[in-house]
Amino acid sequence: MSDNILEIRDLHVSFDMRHGERIYAVRGIDLEVKRGEVLALVGESGSGKSVTGKAVLGILPPSASITSGSIKYNGEELTELKCDGYNRIRGSEISMVPQDPFLSLDPIAPVGAQIAESIRKHDTGGRIGREERRRGALELMREVGIAAAEERYGDHPFRLSGGQRQRIAIAAALAPSPRLLICDEPTTALDVTIEAQILGLFERLKRQRALSMLFITHDLGVVARMADRVAVMYAGRIVEIGEVDEIFYEPRHPYTWSLLSSVPSGSGGRLRIIPGYVPDMRDPPIGDAFAPRSEWAMRIDHLAHPPFFDISPTHRVASWLYHKNAPRAEMPSELRELIAARLEERRRFLMENGSDKERCEEG
């Protein structure tokens, strides 16, 4: 078996709109999720990150189609699967935690029954009895940290708080014991304290169940906490992909620089923003899509799409700045200082605490 649980190669997804218009949402992405790792997919809305997640699960809306490319799960090609085949994969192999559990849970069914149904649907032989399903659902509810699971079992979604609803949605997603979890902005709708708890739950589940995750988010704080590797998307393409430390401490693409610089930190009145707007995906720009907003853009950026340049065996960046003929590009000095300060803080922390292994185990 290969190392990769999921491999996406040159995936193109477009939406057919009225009046013959076409939106090119995903324009050729390559990525792989390794076994047991969390790959974060980061980008602004409209960058195609959610569409990628949906394409993997085969739940694209009818107006969307995969125009080319391949998605392989454990070596099995998903894009060629028919409905039946997909149902075998969906849930029991790949499952999804949605952004808003209020929309994804059935408002008129008790939450426990919804988890039990998820167990029944994936019990192909029909061997699991009603009582056993109930016990299974209760166990899942306890696993995702719902206090007094027995009492909550019969409650309808509206009686639960947002955090509890998200826990139920996670329990339902986990019911068929999937190997790969696709999380589409699973904490965006939650308060920070609840978000921290849910992220903690994901960390625990990942460890206990050896889950692999494709974690879709726009929040760099969430990325920093969850991800092993990060893929930065812009205008339907991946612009930079690497280990989480490489992306946060040695970012290379001008878009990644802008993203990292625009995280609000400290006080200072106005927020730093990326000038300009995301491109219109009905008519995506030729060349590097970020070039119109980038102060590092060169003439070639407007003419041809940059290929990937390898920075390290794990770190790739799609920018002409790393072509051998390009002038040497430096990240903005403020960002460099910010990163240097963080590394310094990290060094001091390690000095004071020795090796941080013990701390990790405590946490």
Binding site: V192, A196, D245, G269, G363
Partner: protein, 335 residues
């Protein structure tokens, strides 16, 4: 002896009046004074107390943040100040004018000052905001009338203040639209033709056209994309600074609040648990809830985000009153 003391305070008062400009920044003008505000709503199982005694002051030209999670009462505070709800008890003062008063206090006032009582009751029953206070709402799609174009939409705010001259309204709208960074060509277009960020700009234009002294922005960007939201925040910030307008910025996103606000109040279960200048609050959080809230923010740094010790707030510390732990830093505590 008693007489002497009173004279002394008067002297100090006069001294402040005279020397106010020179004394300057320490003696800031209080624009809004919210005092012991309480509000309860009728729920399915009895009354639910949304606010249980909230007091704070907003200075003029200040950006004042209110943060808290859902259900903390932050929106209720905003709605009482803007006249959408009337408080169960407590008072709201704008400058020297009382603009909202609780039922008990109103009852007392009815006996002691009947004319003032009648005026205030009329104002509060109208459900209208004080002319100096305007709001920007969370969802720009829901808060704009889909059947009005921008000129009507924004002009209506002027109309409501009694301006009748069409040319004057047109001129005002044009200026407000330019101030929020929209092109003049959008005057005759309808809300559905705009993006979320542009719609929120229209909402802001409608709020600032009457030149209010206080703007209440209730989660103005939580319905927007992060990058678009940042632009809207910058717009509100610039307008406030240019016009010397005070802003009450209600939000759940702490990092934004920290960035743009001068002072921040943290609310939990209908109370202010901590209030301080924003840097002070983020450097030295004191109340256990604030500590937990700040520790929950995921840091954009992979090393520390994965190792951060997250404090859990286990309740408590909600009794007592706001005590000053250092200059301008108030914490809810016993004694």
């Amino acid at each position: 002896m008693a007489k002497y003391k009173r004279n002394k305070t008067i002297t100090i008062y006069i001294y402040r009046e005279l020397w106010g400009d020179i004394v300057g920044e320490n003696e800031r003008e209080v624009l809004l004074d919210v005092s012991d505000l309480r509000k309860s709503f009728k729920g399915s199982s009895g009354r639910v107390e949304a606010l249980s005694g909230v007091s704070f002051k907003v200075f003029s030209r200040e950006i004042f943040g209110i943060v808290g999670e859902s259900g903390s009462g932050k929106t209720t505070v905003g709605r009482i100040i803007s006249g959408l709800y009337s408080p169960s008890s407590g008072s709201v003062r704008l400058g020297n004018e009382v603009i909202a008063l609780g039922e008990d206090e109103l009852g007392k006032m009815k006996r002691s000052a009947p004319t003032e009582y009648k005026r205030l009751r009329r104002v509060m029953r109208s459900g209208r905001a004080h002319p100096e206070i305007r709001m920007v709402f969370q969802d720009p799609t829901a808060s704009l009338n889909p059947r009005m174009n921008v000129l009507e939409q924004v002009g209506e705010a002027l109309l409501a203040t009694g301006v009748r001259d069409k040319a004057e309204i047109g001129e005002g709208v044009r200026r407000a639209i330019a101030d929020v960074g929209l092109p003049p060509s959008c005057l005759y277009r309808y809300p559905h033709e705009f993006s979320g960020g542009q719609r929120q700009r229209i909402g802001i234009a409608r709020a600032i056209i009457t030149k209010p002294r206080l703007l209440i922005a209730d989660e103005p960007v939580s319905a927007l994309d992060v990058s678009v939201g940042a632009q809207v925040i910058n717009l509100i910030y610039d307008l406030a600074r240019e016009r010397g307008m005070s802003v009450i910025f209600i939000a759940h996103d702490l990092s934004l609040v920290r960035h743009v606000c001068d002072r921040v109040a943290v609310m939990y279960k209908g109370r202010i648990v901590e209030l301080a200048e924003s840097e002070e609050l983020f450097r030295h959080p004191t109340h256990p809830y604030t500590v937990a809230l700040l520790s929950a923010i995921p840091e954009p740094d992979p090393f520390f985000a994965k190792r951060a010790v997250r404090r859990v707030y286990e309740g408590g510390g909600l009794e007592g009153e706001l005590c000053e732990v250092s200059s301008g830093h108030l914490v809810l505590m016993d004694g």
